[in-house]
């Protein structure tokens, strides 16, 4: 397989509603920014991957053909990828396959979602249709409810607190304050988060990502092509993809999947109860694969920043553990230690994550790729008009995309090659 680089990215400002533009025009805006940033023209793109989550939000099927047409990419090869909340991450994986295999030299991976055409309650219902509609949807009908039960179990098993979840939300809002592409620009205290309206115990409103309208894209290229286009090379050096049972209640309890360099004794205290409903097995498996390829045996010190799928503050905390940033059960202590803050050892969601940037589902996993690319190209200042969020000496970043209670999870490792 050939080595693959991310050469440029583009994104629209995520917003609660953007009725001024259709989805295809939002994609075009993101695409034009990526082309301009790399100094490329339309003819330089030889394939594309389109990602969006749900046909229900707009009642338009085959939206991928509408956008492919609008972007002027016909008759070049294209494919739609969909996998719930991990749609964007899976799209990057598909784009990588296109380029690494030699089928394509320069592949556009673009994604979007326009969620504002239905009410928030209806939107939540559509998202919940991505849970088992025979057994789970009729009972709960709400993803925040499913994640809340996972958070509650994590608290029970490990002594994690709602305050620790709140700290994560505050951190992400604080970061997004300096991200002009983020939907939310507000400052909250831990008390504000804890005192906010309850959505599903223990999760309050600011601990949950929001519905959003937005588009994002990255352009991937073979190493050979990339070298002709940019000096600031960024390689994809590791990819992982894990899955888990659709129904949360069917998750097994057994031994932890070990990351490269870990010994089983490290997790003896879990007594074979992992993951149950407290952790994401698919995330762990995705990290294992990606770390193995990228040669990572000490993620806390070998990764300089991470953009993780914080659909909920609680799932960010659980993800610290799945990614091996800390041991299972130590996610709460990890955030209290300050390590995932912008000035910490391993900044997590320096962009503000989904909680503050918004979660236009098909665009989100690609958004992470855009922000990670800018970190590694050291161009945060150019794109955000401030270097406040630039992680100093960022050489290696992790992006993590995640679907409904961990059914699909992708991890990509991006590394600076300049």
């Amino acid at each position: 397989m050939r080595r693959v680089c991310v050469i440029s990215g583009g994104i629209t400002k995520f917003a609660k509603a953007n009725p001024e533009l259709t989805q295809e025009a939002m994609c075009k805006d993101a695409f034009d920014r990526a082309l301009a940033d790399a100094g490329l023209e339309l003819k330089d793109i030889d394939s594309s991957i389109c990602t969006y989550f749900s046909d229900h939000f707009n009642g338009q099927l085959l939206f991928d053909s509408l956008t492919q047409d609008y972007l002027g990419l016909c008759p070049k090869p294209s494919m739609r990828i969909e996998g719930g909340g991990a749609t964007g991450g899976l799209g990057i994986r598909a784009g990588y396959m296109n380029v690494a295999s030699g089928l394509s030299d320069v592949c556009l991976v673009y994604g979007f979602e326009k969620m504002s055409e239905v009410s928030t309650a209806k939107g939540n219902e559509f998202i919940a249709l991505a849970s088992d509609t025979d057994f789970d949807f009729p009972v709960g009908g709400f993803y925040s409810g499913y994640y809340a039960t996972m958070a509650q179990r994590h608290m029970h098993e490990f002594g994690t607190t709602a305050e620790q979840f709140a700290r994560i939300a505050v951190k992400n809002y604080d970061n997004a304050f300096y991200n002009p592409y983020a939907q939310k620009h507000e400052r909250l205290t831990v008390q504000d988060v804890l005192n906010a309206p309850m959505i599903a115990t223990p999760i309050t409103r600011p601990m949950v990502c929001v519905m959003s309208d937005g588009a994002a894209c990255v352009i991937l290229a073979s190493e050979e092509k990339a070298k002709q286009i940019t000096r600031r090379l960024v390689y994809i050096t590791g990819l992982g993809c894990g899955t888990d049972t659709m129904r949360l209640g069917d998750r097994p309890r057994g031994d932890v999947i070990l990351l490269p360099g870990e010994e089983p004794e490290k997790y003896a205290y879990l007594k074979g109860r992992w993951p149950g409903v407290a952790s994401f097995r698919g995330g762990r498996e995705a990290a294992r694969q990606a770390y193995l390829q990228a040669g990572i045996t000490d993620p806390l010190h070998q990764i300089d920043f991470a953009e993780v799928h914080d659909a909920y503050a609680s799932s960010e905390l659980q993800t610290y553990e799945d990614m091996g940033f800390c041991k299972y059960g130590d996610g709460g202590k990890f955030v209290e230690s300050g390590l995932p803050y912008l000035d910490g050892e391993l900044p997590v969601n320096p962009s503000g994550g989904l909680i503050a940037c918004g979660h236009p589902v098909g665009a989100t996993g690609i958004m992470q790729g855009v922000f990670a690319l800018w970190q590694l190209q050291e161009t945060i200042q150019d794109h955000m008009k401030s270097d406040r969020l630039q992680v100093k000496d960022a050489r290696r970043g992790l992006i993590h995309s995640h679907a409904g209670t961990g059914t699909y999870i992708t991890v990509h490792i991006l590394e600076r090659g300049w």
Binding site: N124, E125, V139, F142, T149, Q152, G249
Partner: protein
């Protein structure tokens, strides 16, 4: 006639309704069983895995499972009190989701808990199944109360 929401940009209301003739297929017995006030689960004869909700085919080893009657008393494995929901369930708020663990069943089962104040719910609390007399032929035909 088209209902206009805004003229700049032009936004129109576009309703969409559909009715599915939905089949529960190979797990129909579970839903029929709720009317008999029974929880039908499945057990794999090859690897011994037990499933509730049931599966015809074992999710661990792929063998064909056998039906058996699950206990109707268990313990709360985890829970959440919901104060917001998808549109279809807004009228039910607030309500409590529980995952129930049963002796001899490997999985935990999602259901609703009623008849207890939210502040009194604890993980590990014994609960028992209740069945609706007027069944609606869906997963809500069973719910749980403190045992």
């Amino acid at each position: 006639m088209t209902d206009v929401y805004s003229f700049q940009p032009l936004m129109v209301r576009r309703p969409y309704r559909i009715e599915y003739i939905h089949s529960y297929g190979e797990v129909s017995q579970f839903f029929l069983g709720l009317k008999e006030q029974k929880l039908y689960a499945s057990r794999c004869p090859r690897c011994g895995a037990t499933w509730l909700p049931p599966r015809r085919d074992c999710g661990k080893c792929g063998a064909k499972c056998n039906w058996f009657e699950a206990p109707t008393e268990g313990k709360i494995h985890t829970y959440s009190v919901l104060h917001f929901a998808g549109e279809a369930f807004l009228n039910d708020l607030p309500f409590v989701l529980v995952y129930v663990e049963f002796p001899g069943i490997d999985t935990v089962f999602l259901s609703r808990l009623v008849g207890v104040k939210p502040e009194d719910i604890v993980i590990g609390m014994p609960v028992k199944a209740r069945f609706k007399r007027l069944v609606e032929w869906n997963a809500n035909d069973v719910y749980f109360v403190p045992a």
